[in-house]
Each structure stands twice: as structure tokens, then as C-alpha cells.
């Protein structure tokens, strides 16, 4: 067994209650690495891409990577891989905190969860052992109460817990998994998948450690990476001092801070909800994930209202500018609620904004509102609707289905700012063309992190490119998508990429595993993983070029004001270059490309289904 990995995975069948141990051959680990990559490998092997995501036949896989729980910086993360009930695509969702390393210390690299339990249960994994326990007394509890109850029941305050809240139990389509009370595997409704399986929580505790194959080589690589993190202005100063909220003023001044459901890109109230404002008012302290020198996490408190982790930049946007709200206290409250109830803050805030535009257009009947004023800027509305959504109460039942279904139900589908059913996050691509291409071609629906093009187009990292230009963006997006697939499979935090990238990953991985892995091998693995995900979606939907698109508003309605005034996303111009560098035809990988990546079986599968491009 190579170093870094614990060499054991759990397979938990919730239908018959059996728990087995498994390993993967070394060549599989080398090909798919771990985390997101190993997840897509397992999903393609074991799950019909057309499966109903909330049925017992879907699987959900909790995964770490070979660097998780080692001295590698920002390696305190884990991910969940499943077929999303929100998008219907393959979907991976990532979280920080402390849960990931603890799972490895408990002796396991990952947990494959299949079937469904008749009664609520939770999984307890500790020092090489695993058991399912009754969770009847936990069902209905929010994530904080669940975590406290489990810790008390099992009698060890160092137990780490990942769990769902009422939102997951009620199958809200963007319900999330919360770990360590304040961290979220946020997007894509993984919480609903667990809810449908009646798996309330996973508790982990252990005293083992991953073995490092070449201690000296690893140590050198780790030191180099720590140095780079310290030297970067982003990871060494901005993120530790302000957290991700430092982006509020930056993005607003670029005129791409989506306001009132992407109706414009400039929000007059931005200063009031900025990172600078947070530091002056509600910030209590930094809150780092396990093993992270960046420490971007925030812990905040609103006196008389609540306290907890966050809010992050995306959350501030979703409950703030997206809803026209400039009240930081209300945004913080909505944020704490999302963590307690188990809701993705991005989708939750975004969908409230969708509802506000529907209300503005007179589409929502008065009786549905039960007296709630769904006006832009109403700070009560963002808190009230968060509660209602978690419990599917009244209008909340409609919000719980996501922006796309909500807008369709109330007769204005064009108002849904989604890609493949997932709500777009905090950057208007009309002022960042490459970022728009990233949104459109994401394998998991509207997502800013598959290819965080804001880094080159706005922040100038690794170097500045013209955000209004379309040439060269296809190539750049592919580079980011492939590289970030590697990040997500090692399971490192993406923020290290402000300081270092694939060259350093290769050194870390080589030292930990003992493999003579090169950057080229990792780039190829990233490309392989991205293509495999695309194949899953093609098998699920018959995907082609028509899926790589954006809401009409972004393609046809010019930005009305600000520095990006007059622009739309010139998607078609970028797509042809993108498909060319990817080696795809009409949005689908060719047999030639798949075989080049060692994916002949996937080419065969596509051919059998008549879905290989001609």
C-alpha cells in the first residue's frame, strides 16, 4: 500500500445493515488519486447514471485523499460524491473543519454508502471499527444538537461529526452536510441524499496516522509550500485578516457583484456588508480548518441574535446583494441558521432572490406569502424564508425545489439564474467572460470553483488577463478545470492555489506515497477525472453542446450599469476554442480522447449507448 492512504475503505449497506471493508488496487489509486477522482470512478462502476438520486440505488461516497491528515498544508478536508438531486449530474461537495483527518485517523480513506435504512441510523467509526446505531432520538434535531447529542452519547468530546439537519431530513434539494457544526459540504443537495437514506450522521474518532513513504522528501515539499503560502499576499495576508469577505468590495468595484438576481452588477450597499465592515463589527476570531496556515475561516457573533462560523463571501452575496439586503447582522443570522438547519447558503440565499424577483413581477399569489413582504432588501424575509424552506412550510416548499423549479412553477422560467439546475454564485460573468465559460461547462451545474477564472481575470493570479476578452479563455478554463480536479482529488483546499499549484502537488504526493509522480501525470489525471465526469453526465442526460449554456439574461441582456456596462457573455466564441483544446466534438469527448486518457471502457459504454460523437 502506498504511503498517505490508510489502505481501507468501508462499504456500508443501509438496506441490510452490513458493513464491509475494502481496498482498491494501487493502479486504481494512482489513476484516480482519491476524493473527487476516486468518487467518479466508483460512481461510474457501481451506479446507473440514470438512477433517481433519492432512491436507494443511488450511492453517496465520503472520501478523503492521500494527503488528508498529513503535514501538507490545508489538507484538513474531505468530500462527498453522489448523483445530485438538484442537478441530476455527478456531483462532489467539499468541506473543511476537522472531520476529514479524523476519518483517516480512524483508519479509513473513505466510506461507500449504499441502499437505504428503514429507520434513522447513524454511523460510528472509531479506530478501525464501524457500526450503525439507532438515530431515532436524533431525527428532527438540528446539526448542533445532533453533534452534541452524539458526543455525549459516545462519551468523547474529540469525536468529529458530519450530519444533516431538518433540511436534509425534509429532502430539500439543496440540503447540505454539516461537519464540526460550522463547516459545510454545501452544494448539490448531498444532505437530501443522506436524508432519503435515513443516515442522520457519521461520527468518527481515531488515533492512527497515515504513513509517509519518504519523510525527508515530504518534509522538504511541505516546508516549500508553507513558505509560498506565507509569501503570497492573498494567503499570507488578505485571507487571514479578512476571510473570503475581502472579495465583497473588490467584486463590487469591478461591477460584477450580482444584484437583485443578476439584474445588475453594482450594489450600493456593498460597503455595509464587506469584509472590512465585518472586521469592525461582528468578527470574533479566525477559525482555521485542521492543519491550515491560511486560517481564512471566520467566527462571528451578533449580540442578542446568534453566533457561529462564517459568513463567507458567497453567503454574504447570496443573502445580501442577491436579495438587495445590506444588513450584515441579518445576513449573519441567515448564515447561522443555514448551518444549524443544514442548508447550502449559496442556493438558499440565491433562491430567496429568485422569489423576490417573482414577487416583484407579481407572480406570487398573496395567500402564498402569509403576510410576508418579499420586497428587495427586506432583512426579515431572508431569515423567515430560510426557516420555511428547511421545513418545506408554505412557500418554503416551493423554494426547497430550487430556483429552476420555483421560477417554472410561478410562470417565469427565464428568472432562474441556474446552470443545469444549480443556482449561480457570486460573480456576474458578463464582466468576466472566462468565468462565464467556467459556469457553462461545469460538470456539476452552476459553480464558481470548477474553474475559478476570477483569479486570473480579476485578482491577477497567477497573472492578469483581460476579463472582457474571449480569446484564450477556452484554454485557460481547461487548465483550471483539470488542475482543480487534482486539488479536489488530493483533497486539498483550493486556496493553496493562490500560492502554488500542480508542480508542488506532485512533490507532496511523491513524498507521501513513494510514487515517482510528475506534474505531467497529475495534469493528465485531472483531465481524466474531468472527462469521466462528463461521460457520467452524457450517460445520464445524453449531454451534448446544448447543455453547455447560460441563462438567457447573461447571454442576451447587456449589463445595464457600471464598469461592465453593455456586455453580455460571448459564450459561443469561447466554446469552440474550449472544445478544441479539450478534444471534444459537440460537447462530448471523442473515442480518441478517452482512450488517450486510459478510458477505453468509457468510450465503449458511450458507443453502446449511441452517444459517442461522430
Amino acid at each position: 500500500m502506498p504511503g498517505g492512504y490508510m489502505g481501507k475503505f468501508l462499504r456500508v449497506n443501509l438496506t441490510d445493515g452490513k458493513i464491509r471493508e475494502e481496498t482498491f488496487p494501487e493502479e486504481v489509486l494512482r489513476k484516480w488519486i482519491g476524493g473527487r477522482g476516486l468518487g467518479v470512478y466508483i460512481m461510474l462502476k457501481e451506479v446507473d447514471p440514470k438512477v433517481d438520486p433519492l432512491s436507494p440505488d443511488n450511492k453517496i461516497i465520503i472520501l478523503t485523499g492521500p494527503l488528508t491528515g498529513t503535514a501538507a498544508p490545508s489538507s484538513g478536508r474531505w468530500c462527498s460524491v453522489t448523483k445530485s438531486p438538484l442537478t441530476g449530474t455527478i456531483h462532489d461537495s467539499h468541506a473543511g473543519g476537522k472531520f476529514g483527518p479524523e476519518l483517516k485517523f480512524a483508519g479509513f480513506d473513505g466510506i461507500i454508502i449504499e441502499g437505504a435504512s428503514e429507520k434513522p441510523v447513524y454511523l460510528w467509526v472509531h479506530d478501525g471499527k464501524a457500526e450503525l446505531r439507532d438515530a431515532k432520538h436524533l431525527w428532527g434535531k438540528d446539526t448542533h444538537a445532533t453533534t452534541d447529542a452524539i458526543i455525549e452519547e459516545l462519551g468523547d468530546k474529540d469525536i468529529k461529526v458530519a450530519c444533516i439537519g431538518p433540511a436534509g431530513e425534509n429532502l430539500v434539494k439543496f440540503a447540505c452536510i454539516i461537519c464540526d457544526k460550522h463547516r459545510a459540504a454545501g452544494r448539490g443537495g448531498h444532505g437530501a441524499v443522506l436524508g432519503a437514506k435515513k443516515l442522520k450522521a457519521i461520527a468518527v474518532r481515531g488515533t492512527m496516522k497515515p504513513r509517509i513513504a519518504d519523510e525527508e522528501k515530504f518534509r522538504q515539499a511541505v516546508m516549500e509550500c508553507f513558505q509560498k503560502i506565507k509569501q503570497s499576499g492573498v494567503t499570507g495576508q488578505a485571507l487571514p485578516e479578512y476571510g473570503t469577505a475581502v472579495l465583497v468590495n473588490i467584486i463590487n468595484k469591478h461591477g460584477i457583484f450580482p444584484t437583485r438576481n443578476f439584474q445588475t452588477g453594482v450594489f450600493p450597499g456593498a460597503e455595509k456588508i464587506s469584509g472590512e465592515k465585518m472586521k469592525e463589527t461582528i468578527l470574533v476570531r479566525r477559525d482555521p480548518c485542521w492543519g491550515c496556515p491560511i486560517a481564512c475561516g471566520r467566527y462571528t457573533r451578533v449580540p442578542g441574535v446568534g453566533e457561529g462560523g462564517g459568513p463567507e463571501y458567497e453567503t454574504i452575496w447570496a443573502f445580501g446583494a442577491q436579495c438587495g439586503v445590506d444588513d450584515l447582522n441579518a445576513i449573519a443570522k441567515a448564515n447561522y441558521l443555514c448551518n444549524e438547519l443544514g442548508l447550502d447558503t449559496i442556493s438558499m440565499g440565491h433562491v430567496i432572490g429568485t422569489a423576490m424577483e417573482l414577487y416583484e413581477k407579481g407572480k406570487i399569489p398573496a395567500e402564498k406569502l402569509r403576510g410576508l413582504e418579499l420586497k428587495w432588501g427586506n432583512p426579515e424575509a431572508i431569515v423567515e424564508l430560510t426557516w420555511r424552506t428547511a421545513y418545506r412550510s408554505g412557500l418554503g416548499d416551493d423554494l426547497a425545489e430550487g430556483a429552476k423549479k420555483l421560477a417554472e412553477k410561478y410562470g417565469a422560467p427565464e428568472v432562474a439564474m441556474v446552470v443545469r439546475g444549480q443556482e449561480l454564485p457570486a460573480y456576474d460573468p458578463r464582466g468576466a467572460q472566462g468565468h462565464g465559460l467556467g459556469y457553462a461547462t461545469s460538470n456539476r451545474g452552476g459553480c464558481h470553483l470548477r474553474a475559478y477564472m476570477i483569479a486570473p481575470e480579476v485578482l491577477g493570479v497567477p497573472e492578469l488577463v483581460d476579463r472582457f476578452e474571449t480569446k484564450g479563455k477556452g484554454k485557460l478554463v481547461k487548465t483550471f478545470q483539470d488542475g482543480f480536479a487534482v486539488v479536489d482529488s488530493l483533497v486539498l483546499c483550493k486556496f493553496v492555489t493562490f500560492a502554488f499549484f500542480v508542480d508542488e502537488f506532485a512533490k507532496l504526493l511523491a513524498g507521501a506515497t513513494g510514487w515517482n509522480v510528475t506534474p505531467e501525470e497529475l495534469w493528465k489525471a485531472g483531465e481524466r477525472i474531468f472527462n469521466a465526469e462528463r461521460v457520467f453526465n452524457i450517460l445520464a442526460f445524453g449531454d451534448g453542446k446544448e447543455y453547455d449554456t447560460l441563462p438567457k439574461r447573461l447571454l442576451e441582456e447587456p449589463m445595464p450599469e457600471g464598469p461592465a456596462k453593455g456586455y453580455v457573455v460571448k459564450l459561443d466564441e469561447m466554446l469552440s476554442e474550449y472544445y478544441e483544446v479539450r478534444g471534444w466534438k459537440d460537447g462530448r469527448p471523442t473515442r480518441e480522447k478517452l482512450e488517450e486518457l486510459g478510458l477505453k471502457e468509457l468510450a465503449d459504454r458511450l458507443e453502446e449507448a449511441g452517444l459517442l460523437p461522430r
Binding site: 503570497s232 499576499g233 492573498v234 494567503t235 495576508q237 488578505a238 485571507l239 485578516e241 479578512y242 476571510g243 473570503t244 469577505a245 475581502v246 472579495l247 468590495n249 473588490i250 468595484k253 469591478h254 461591477g255 469584509g275 472590512e276 481564512c296 463567507e312 463571501y313 458567497e314 464558481h448 470553483l449 475559478y452 483569479a455 480579476v458 485578482l459 491577477g460 493570479v461 492578469l464 483581460d466 476579463r467 483550493k494 486556496f495 493562490f498 457600471g562 464598469p563 461592465a564
Partner: protein, 89 residues
């Protein structure tokens, strides 16, 4: 000419102000360097004459690095925004 200069995050903490108006009488345009000199910023963001990596300089929301950096032209009533390196998700 009058130009509004706004600074953010760590720059605010370091210098103790958020925005100021820079006046250059008798001129309708100037270089970014001239404006930032008068705002007391050049030494902070470009010590030894070289712009610190990652510093974001905007003129009316457009990145000045694409228009000549410190040699970019600034006009009457323009808004200049200066950000230390920033990032997130």
C-alpha cells in the same frame, strides 16, 4: 482635475483613511502615478518603483495594469480604487 481615490482592507488599516479627493489644478489628465503620489500611496504599493504583485488598481472599475499600470491615464472625475492582493472563493 479632481479624482476620488478609494483604498481597501489592509491599506485602510495601515494608512487610517478610506477615501480622499486628489486635486491637480490646471490639468485635465494625469498619470496614475501622479495621482497616487499625491494620495501618499506610491511608496506603499510600489516600493522601489515596482508595483507589488497582486495589488489591484482600478480606474472606473477597469484594471489599470492593462492600460499601462502606473503610467495609465487618469482624467477629471475618474474614480481610482486601490486594493491590496485579495482572494477567496
Amino acid at each position: 482635475m479632481k479624482v476620488r481615490v478609494e483604498i481597501y482592507s489592509l491599506l485602510r488599516e495601515k494608512l487610517g483613511w478610506k477615501e480622499r479627493i486628489v486635486e491637480i489644478p490646471g490639468r485635465s489628465e494625469a498619470t496614475l502615478r501622479e495621482v497616487l503620489e499625491r494620495a501618499g500611496l506610491v511608496d506603499v504599493i510600489a516600493p522601489e518603483g515596482r508595483l507589488i504583485e497582486g495589488v489591484i488598481l482600478l480606474i472606473n472599475g477597469r484594471n489599470a495594469r492593462l492600460e499601462g499600470g502606473l503610467d495609465a491615464r487618469v482624467h477629471d472625475n475618474d474614480e481610482v480604487s486601490v486594493f491590496p492582493p485579495g482572494g477567496g472563493g
